[in-house]
Amino acid sequence: MGSLHFLSDDINLAYIMEVKAEDGEVEPKQKKIGQIVSDLVGKNEFIRPDGELFVHRKLVSHASDGAIKTNMSLLWQALIQSKKEAIGHAANSYLSVTVGDLTNSAKLPDDQLVRTWKEKTEEILFPHTWPIYCIDELRSDSKFRLSKPSFGAPYTIFPIASDYAAAIVTGFIKIHYRLNTNAITRSLRDAGLEAKCFLGDYRNPGGQLLDSKRSAYFQVQRGAITLNIHALPVEQLLFEGLPLEDLVASVISQCEAEEKQREKSPNYGKQNVRRFHSMSTYTSMEAVRATSLAYIFSELWQQNQFVCLALTIFQQRCKATYRGALHLYLLEATNLLTANLPAKEEAEQKEHKE
């Protein structure tokens, strides 16, 4: 049996404990990983087993009026529309969110439902939505995300009503995401970085990436500093409402930290290995998640209307004003959104042959 005290920047958070069936000792390997967790949480860094430094950075980001920046409003808009029309869609200049509500799909005829879903999730978005033409689009959906739970924030802590969250988790509401990687690259370049999206490499015949880059989506360069942007921030951008400006700010902050590190030790980075790894967390995202606590009493909310909430939570450190909407709905077992399509196509083909 082993336990470890978890120290944070300002409060003692918790103990973690390893429990053994018989009064045995915690194995050295387990002790080591427990210590890594404690160091990362308490000191914001740890030395990896390969000797490289892993550092955590917290990016404080709020708009000048104190409001929290987030793209969560896209999800809200799409959810509300899906309640009325079975399929809802909202987009900004780099992210497109489409919501399909299976509990509500009887509102549209099957063929229209499928057509609308395909249009929103597959067809090119016009320049009034995505002013930057997108060659390499990153697409994913809630089903894929739920099948591979990893670091990401679960839908159960999204600031949406519990019935919506439950419907997403159980697959009765499906969310489709599209990310304009060209817009991301442009933003990084506008911030003074040389940027490249790796998705393009797969387009070249026989195009492959080096092993070290396979898990990365973007690469940025500033002077002698080269950084790969891996899945975690990209997933936050795609799924969790992280605004692009926060991602760019965290990349710049990481470049600056590496530059300082190089100034301190001149030999730093001379070898062909990365010496320094960084992970960013965003106060805006944490505050957005904390507001989920307010989304309880569905009956207090009016159907199909935006409701303003003023909240002071999260240890009184984050103030946020949110617009959200909640609806009560009954579960209707209806057809899967795209379920009829292949069957229908096959039937049509058969009919055609006959």
């Binding site: 336990s3 470890l4 944070s8 409060i11 003692n12 958070l13 918790a14 103990y15 973690i16 404990m17 429990v19 053994k20 069936a21 387990q30 990983i33 427990g34 890594i36 967790v37 990362l40 949480v41 914001n44 955590h56 917290k58 299976l102 739920l146 099948s147 739970p149 990893s150 670091f151 924030a153 679960p154 159960t156 802590i157 519990s162 019935d163 969250a165 439950a166 419907a167 988790v169 159980t170 009765f172 975690l232 992970m279 967390t281 965003y282 944490e286 998640r289 904390a290 989920s292 606590l293 989304y295 309880i296 999260f314 579960l331 077992a333 057809n335 899967l336 795209t338 379920a339 292949p342």
Partner: protein, 193 residues
């Protein structure tokens, strides 16, 4: 998506257990969001534990059944006691498909219910991403199987001991998808308030 894949998806999505899980998960989310005191968290974890253990046990049973059917299928050509091999094979293949579907259904349900444990974890850690990410720096332990039963029982016992002695709430990492380092996160009443 092939037609049988679509049919499979529909069978999974609109199965009564999945529809029931939707209702249960909605209730559990509300319960978690109302939690402020250790006793409230403890109650939710007890409810959650019943659902997760049911899902994991059923998935494991289906998995064992699947393995057994696969063995029968492999041995079928050499089984002299079978008279009508064709119909026996058809029956076994149907059973295999059914067991596979059931295993997938309950694995999914296990993941879905564990997202409630994830919500508890985020909430208990004050919605701070760092402890959650740090405690995720490990391989997933997977569902609670019979082989891990002794460990799971020891954890349950420890959770009760901590409650009885200190009124401390111990979140079981096995009830989450995200927490993968060590077994319990223990929150004493002072830290929660």
């Amino acid at each position: 998506m092939a037609i049988n894949q679509v049919q499979r998806e529909m069978q999974l999505q609109f199965h009564p257990e999945q529809i029931k899980a939707f209702e249960n998960i909605e209730t559990l989310i509300e319960e978690v969001r109302r939690c402020r005191e250790p006793i409230q968290y403890r109650t939710v974890q007890q409810h959650l534990g019943e659902y997760i253990e049911h899902a994991d046990n059923t998935a494991e049973e289906a998995s064992s059944r699947l393995k057994l059917i696969e063995t029968h299928l492999r041995r079928l050509p050499y089984n002299k006691n079978v008279i009508d091999r064709q119909s026996a094979q058809k029956k076994l293949e149907q059973d295999k498909e059914q067991a596979d579907l059931e295993r997938e259904r309950y694995r999914r349900l296990g993941r879905q219910y564990r997202s409630i444990g994830d919500a508890m974890a985020w909430q208990l850690y004050g919605f701070r991403a760092l402890p959650i990410y740090a405690l995720g720096l490990n391989a997933s332990p997977g569902p609670i199987s019979q082989s891990k039963k002794r460990g799971a029982d020891a954890e349950a016992k420890k959770v009760d001991e901590l409650w009885d002695e200190y009124q401390a709430f111990a979140l079981r990492h096995d009830y989450t998808n995200l927490l993968r380092v060590w077994d319990l996160s223990i929150f004493y009443p002072m830290t929660l308030t």
